[in-house]
C-alpha cells in the first residue's frame, strides 16, 4: 500500500511538472499582455526615466532572459533577479492589472474556493449516494421516478436560473442571505466563529446550485451501476446466507457500485471550479473563478498562471484521493501490481 502511495505521488509530481510547462506556454502565448504593453509604452515615450523604468521592469521580471529560463524562474528552479523565488518558494508573482502581489489577491479567495468545493463535493455525495441506491433497489417504483425527475430537472435547469430561484425563495421562506460569500460586516475581518457561521450560511444556496448538475449525473450513474450489480450471483449468495436484503445490498453490490462513484472525485473538482465561474459572477461569490476570468481577459499572466496551476493541483489531488480510496476499497486494484 505504501509502495502504491509513493508511486501515485511520484506520477502526480511528474504530471504537475508537465502541466506547469503547458500553463506557462499557454499564458505566454498570446501577444499583448499588460507588462509588455507597459514596457512598449514607456520606451515609446522616449524619456530617459521611462526607458530606465522599462529596463528595470525587463530585468525585474526576467523578460531579458530566454523563455526556458523565465519558466524555471517562475517555477523556482532557477535564480531570478531576487535569487530563487518562484512558485516552489511561495512567491506567486505580481498582478500588473491590480498592482498587488498575486498572493494578496487570491489569498482569501483560495480558501473560500476550497471551502465551497469541499462542501459541494460533500453535498453531491451525500445526496447522490442514498438517492441513487434507493432508485436502483426500488427500480421502476415511484421513488425511482422521483429521483429520475429530480435528476433531469437538475441537469436541465441552467445554473444561474436555479441560483435566482433559490435566492428568491431561500430569502423569502428561510431568510437565507442573498449573494456573496459573507455579510459585508465581515469583509476583510480576521476569521472568527461568527464569521465562519456567516460564511456557512452564505454557502447553502451556492452549494446546491453548483452541485445539482453533478449530483444528478451521479445519481444516474450510481443507479445504472448498482442495477447491474444487483443481478450478480454474489448477491444471491448473500441472500442465501440469510442476510437481510438491506444489509446484503449495502455490504456487497453497493460497495462494488461505488468504484466509478469514487473515481469521479477527480473529474468533479475541475468541472466544479470552471463550471462555477458564471455562477460565481451571478451570485457575487468571492472565489477564484471570477478572478481567473478577468486575469485571462487582461492577460495578467502571473495571476492567471497561478490560478491555472492551482486548479490543476486541485484536480490531481482529487485524482490521488480517489485512487487511494479505490485501492482501499477494492483489493483487486490494491494487489494488481503484486505477483501472485
Amino acid at each position: 500500500m505504501l509502495g502504491y502511495f509513493v508511486r501515485r505521488v511520484w506520477t502526480m509530481i511528474w504530471t504537475l511538472a508537465v502541466v506547469s510547462v503547458l500553463v506557462f506556454i499557454i499564458v505566454n502565448l498570446p501577444p499583448g499582455d499588460i507588462l509588455s504593453n507597459q514596457i512598449a509604452q514607456l520606451r515609446a515615450s522616449g524619456e530617459a526615466a521611462s526607458v530606465a523604468r522599462a529596463e528595470f521592469l525587463m530585468r525585474e521580471f526576467a523578460l531579458d532572459r530566454p523563455m526556458w529560463q523565465q519558466y524555471l524562474i517562475w517555477v523556482g528552479f532557477w535564480p531570478g533577479p531576487h535569487g530563487f523565488s518562484g512558485l516552489l518558494q511561495g512567491d506567486l508573482g505580481w498582478s500588473f492589472e491590480l498592482n498587488r502581489p498575486v498572493s494578496a489577491i487570491v489569498g482569501e479567495a483560495l480558501w473560500l474556493t476550497l471551502a465551497l468545493n469541499f462542501f459541494t463535493v460533500l453535498f453531491v455525495y451525500l445526496v447522490a449516494l442514498p438517492l441513487g441506491a434507493v432508485a436502483a433497489v426500488k427500480a421502476n417504483s415511484w421513488i425511482d421516478y422521483l429521483a429520475t425527475f429530480i435528476g433531469y430537472v437538475g441537469l436541465a435547469t441552467p445554473n444561474f436560473l436555479l441560483a435566482l430561484i433559490l435566492y428568491h425563495y431561500g430569502a423569502h421562506w428561510f431568510g437565507l442571505p442573498v449573494g456573496g460569500m459573507m455579510s459585508a460586516d465581515f469583509l476583510d475581518k480576521p476569521l472568527s466563529l461568527a464569521k465562519l457561521g456567516d460564511i456557512l450560511l452564505h454557502l447553502i444556496v451556492p452549494v446546491i446550485v453548483i452541485g445539482t448538475a453533478g449530483m444528478a449525473g451521479m445519481v444516474r450513474r450510481l443507479r445504472a451501476n448498482l442495477l447491474d450489480e444487483l443481478g450478480k450471483p454474489y448477491v444471491t449468495t448473500a441472500l442465501a446466507k440469510g442476510s437481510p436484503s438491506g444489509r446484503a445490498v449495502v455490504r456487497y453490490p453497493l460497495r462494488m457500485a461505488l468504484n466509478p462513484f469514487v473515481a469521479d472525485i477527480g473529474n468533479l473538482l475541475p468541472s466544479l471550479v470552471s463550471g462555477s465561474v458564471l455562477v460565481s459572477l451571478v451570485m457575487g461569490l468571492q472565489t477564484i473563478g471570477p478572478i481567473l476570468l478577468s486575469a485571462l481577459r487582461s492577460q495578467d499572466y502571473f495571476l492567471s498562471g497561478f490560478i491555472l496551476m492551482f486548479v490543476s493541483l486541485l484536480t490531481l489531488v482529487g485524482m490521488l484521493i480517489s485512487d487511494l480510496l479505490l485501492a482501499w476499497l477494492d483489493p483487486r486494484i490494491r494487489y494488481s501490481g503484486r505477483a501472485r
Binding site: R7, G231, K232, P233, Y234, T236, T237, A238, L239, A240, K241, G242, S243, P244, R251, Y252, R255, M256, L329, D330, P331, R332, Y335, G337, A339, R340
Partner: protein
C-alpha cells in the same frame, strides 16, 4: 406431514414467470430423508435450479411462486414448518443456518471485495450469538475441514487469489460452517476440471457422512449422480419424469426420457475400438514451444515475474481423415496449441509445423505470410467452445455463413446464398433458417451453425476447441455424431480439444494428454484407455464420473496423478523445466518418463 426420518417433503411446487405462460415448474413433489443424498437431474431449462432457489426463497426477479408446500423438519426436533409459507424474516433465520446452498460458479458467487474469512464469518454472525473470537476459531476449523492447507491464510485471502478448486472449497465452507441440516448444491462442480471435481465431490460426501446432513445435489451430469446420490429425481420442463433409487433408475430407466439421458451420458469405452489406420499425414508438428514473456510492471516498467512456458516440446502427426484429441485441464496449454497451429499466436522459433493439403504440397506454416497465410486459413478452420458468443448477434445466419466466402472472394452473391443453404442442410438445419438471427436458436443449433460457418470454405482440417462443453449431454451426443458424419462425408481431419476424456473416447483415433504445457502421454485411443501408464492419465480416467452406480470414483488414483509434476511418483515426476523425454513404450504409445 413429514415423518421423523424425513428432513424435507416438497409437494406440488409450482413456479411461473408470466401469468399467462405455462409454469416452469409444475406440481413438483419429492422428499429427502436425513443423511440422504437426493439428486435432481435435468437439462438446462428443466427448472432444477429454480427448484433449489424456490426452497431458499431466492427466486430471480420475475419468477413467482404459484403454489405448493415444502415441509421442513429441523434436525433438533423443532416443529415442522412450511418453507414456502414462511414470512421473509423467519425464512431468513433458516437460510444459511439450517438450510444452506453451494452455487455453481464460485468466482462470481463470492464477493470479490471481501476476504473469504469475512464472507464465511458473516454466516455465523447472522445465525449465532458467538463472540468474534469464537467465530474466527470456528471458521478456521471449517477451513481445515474443507481442505485448505493453511486455514489462517484462507481467512485472509480474497477469492481472486484462490484457484477454482479452493474457491469452491471456500463456498462449501460458507455453506457448512453453521452445520446445516440440508445442503443444496447447485451444479457444484460443473465449472471445475475433472480431477478437481472428483476431489470436491469427495469432500461433499465426507462432510455429509461426518455431520449427517441431507444433500440435495442439482446437476446435469448422470456420472456425478451415479457416484454421489442415493435417490434421483429426473426433471424435464418443470415436470417430474421419474424418481427412485439411483441404482434402479440408472440401470433400468422406466421413462423414455431417462433412457435417452442415460444413453447420451459420455461413457468410457469398454471394448477395444480399433483405431483406423492411415498413412497420409495432413499435419506434422515437431518441437512446438510457446513462452509468454513476463508482463511489464513496476516503477520503471521493468519486467517482473518470470516468463510463462505455456507450451513445451509438443510434437505429433495427424493423418488425413483421422482425429487427434488433445485432453487436459484448464491451464494445460491445449488451447494455446490450437492458436499456434492456426498462427493466431506466433510460436517460439524452432518449431516445425508442416501442413500437407489434398493437393499434396507441403506448407511450412511458420513461414507463411500474407496471401499464403490467408489461403492456409481457408483450409484450416476453428470451432469455438461457446456458440453463444461465437456468433455475432447482429448478423443473420445467411450473412454469418456467406461472410467467409465473401472475404475470400469466392462465388457471387447468389451462389453464396445457395452455398449457405447447402451448409445448413449439411449440419442438419434447413434453409428457411437463413433469415433468422442467432438468438432464435438453442445452444445445440447455434453450435451447428458455428460448424456450418467453419465448413463454408471447404476446409480440410477443423480445430475444435471444447466444442461441446457448453451443451447439455443429449445435445453433446448429437453434435459428436454430426462431427463423425461430417468427417466421413467430407473427408475432414480433426484436432479435438477437450477437458473430458469420456467425450473424446468415441470420436478420436489418437489422444494426447497435456499437463502443464507438456504432452505426458500420447497414443492410439484403445491403448490410452485400456493401458494408461502415466499417473495423470490414470487420474483423469479415475476422475471421470460414469452413469453407473457400480463404478464410483477412484479417489486414490486421482490423488496420485492430479498434483503438480513434482508430486508425481518416479519415474514420472520432474521439477521445474527438467522434464524427461517422451518414451515409446508400445508401438505409437508414448509416455513422458525418465528412462
Amino acid at each position: 406431514m413429514t415423518t421423523s426420518q424425513q428432513a424435507l417433503l416438497v409437494d406440488g411446487l409450482t413456479v411461473g414467470f408470466d401469468a399467462g405462460a405455462p409454469p416452469v415448474i409444475d406440481g413438483l413433489g419429492f422428499s429427502v430423508a436425513r443423511r440422504e443424498t437426493l439428486a435432481i437431474v435435468g437439462e438446462s431449462g428443466s427448472g432444477k435450479t429454480l427448484t433449489g432457489r424456490a426452497l431458499m426463497g431466492i427466486l430471480p426477479r420475475g419468477a413467482r411462486l404459484l403454489g405448493g408446500r415444502a415441509l421442513y423438519r429441523p434436525g433438533d426436533g423443532g416443529p415442522e414448518v412450511d418453507l414456502l409459507a414462511l414470512r421473509r424474516s423467519a425464512l431468513r433465520r433458516l437460510c444459511g443456518g439450517r438450510i444452506a446452498m453451494v452455487f455453481q460458479e464460485p468466482m462470481s458467487a463470492l464477493s470479490p471485495l471481501h476476504t473469504v474469512g469475512a464472507q464465511v464469518a458473516e454466516v455465523l454472525a447472522l445465525h449465532t450469538d458467538l463472540p468474534a473470537a469464537a467465530i474466527h476459531a470456528r471458521c478456521l476449523a471449517t477451513f481445515a475441514e474443507v481442505g485448505f492447507p493453511d486455514p489462517e491464510r484462507a481467512w485472509r485471502a480474497y477469492p481472486f487469489e484462490l484457484s477454482g478448486g479452493l474457491r469452491q472449497r471456500a463456498m462449501i465452507a460458507m455453506a457448512v460452517v453453521a452445520e446445516p441440516d440440508i445442503l443444496i448444491a447447485d451444479e457444484p462442480t460443473t465449472a471445475l476440471d475433472v480431477t478437481t471435481q472428483a476431489q470436491v465431490l469427495d469432500l461433499l460426501k465426507t462432510l455429509q457422512r461426518r455431520h449427517g446432513q441431507s444433500l440435495i445435489l442439482i446437476t446435469h451430469d448422470l456420472g456425478v449422480v451415479a457416484s454421489m446420490a442415493d435417490r434421483v429425481v429426473v426433471l424435464r420442463q418443470g415436470r417430474l419424469m421419474e424418481a427412485g433409487p439411483v441404482a434402479d433408475v440408472l440401470a433400468a430407466p422406466g421413462h423414455a426420457y431417462t433412457r435417452a439421458l442415460v444413453a447420451a451420458a459420455p461413457h468410457l469405452p469398454e471394448g477395444a475400438s480399433a483405431g483406423r489406420s492411415a498413412a497420409d499425414p495432413i499435419l506434422q508438428v515437431e518441437g512446438l514451444n510457446k513462452t509468454f514473456p513476463a508482463r511489464r510492471a513496476g516503477f520503471f516498467g521493468q519486467r517482473s515475474g518470470t516468463a510463462i512456458a505455456a507450451v513445451r516440446d509438443v510434437s505429433f502427426t495427424l493423418h488425413r481423415g483421422q482425429t487427434l484429441a488433445i485432453v487436459g485441464e484448464s491451464g494445460s496449454g491445449k488451447s494455446t496449441v490450437a492458436r499456434l497451429l492456426l498462427r493466431a499466436e506466433i510460436a517460439d522459433p524452432g518449431a516445425q509445423v508442416v501442413f500437407r493439403g489434398r493437393d499434396g504440397a507441403a506448407v511450412d506454416v511458420a513461414a507463411l505470410g500474407g496471401a499464403g497465410l490467408k489461403a492456409f486459413r481457408a483450409r484450416v478452420q476453428l470451432v469455438f467452445q461457446d456458440p453463444f458468443s461465437a456468433l455475432s448477434p447482429r448478423m443473420r445466419i445467411a450473412e454469418i455463413l456467406s461472410e467467409p466466402l465473401a472475404i475470400h472472394g469466392r462465388l457471387n452473391a447468389r451462389a453464396r446464398r445457395d452455398r449457405a443453404a447447402e451448409l445448413l442442410r449439411q449440419v442438419g438445419l434447413s434453409a428457411e433458417h437463413l433469415g433468422r438471427y442467432p438468438h432464435a436458436f438453442s445452444g445445440g443449433q447455434r453450435q451447428r451453425i458455428a460448424i456450418a460457418r467453419a465448413l463454408a470454405l471447404d476446409p480440410e482440417l477443423l480445430i475444435c476447441d471444447e466444442p461441446t462443453s457448453a451443451l447439455d449431454a443429449s445435445v453433446q451426443l448429437q453434435i459428436l455424431d454430426l462431427f463423425k458424419r461430417l468427417r466421413d462425408e467430407l473427408g475432414l481431419s480433426y484436432i479435438f480439444i477437450s477437458h473430458d476424456l469420456a467425450v473424446v473416447a468415441d470420436l478420436a483415433d489418437h489422444v494426447a494428454v497435456m499437463r502443464a504445457g507438456r504432452i505426458v502421454e500420447q497414443g492410439p485411443v484403445a491403448a490410452l484407455f485400456h493401458d494408461p501408464v502415466h499417473p495423470y492419465t490414470r487420474a483423469l480416467i479415475a476422475a471421470s464420473p460414469e452413469p453407473d452406480p457400480g463404478k464410483r470414483l477412484d479417489l486414490a488414483a486421482v490423488a496420485r496423478g492430479a498434483g503438480a509434476p513434482q508430486d508425481w511418483p518416479a519415474p514420472f515426476g520432474y521439477r521445474d523445466d527438467t522434464a524427461p523425454p517422451l518414451t515409446e513404450i508400445a508401438p505409437a504409445h508414448f509416455v513422458r518418463l525418465a528412462a
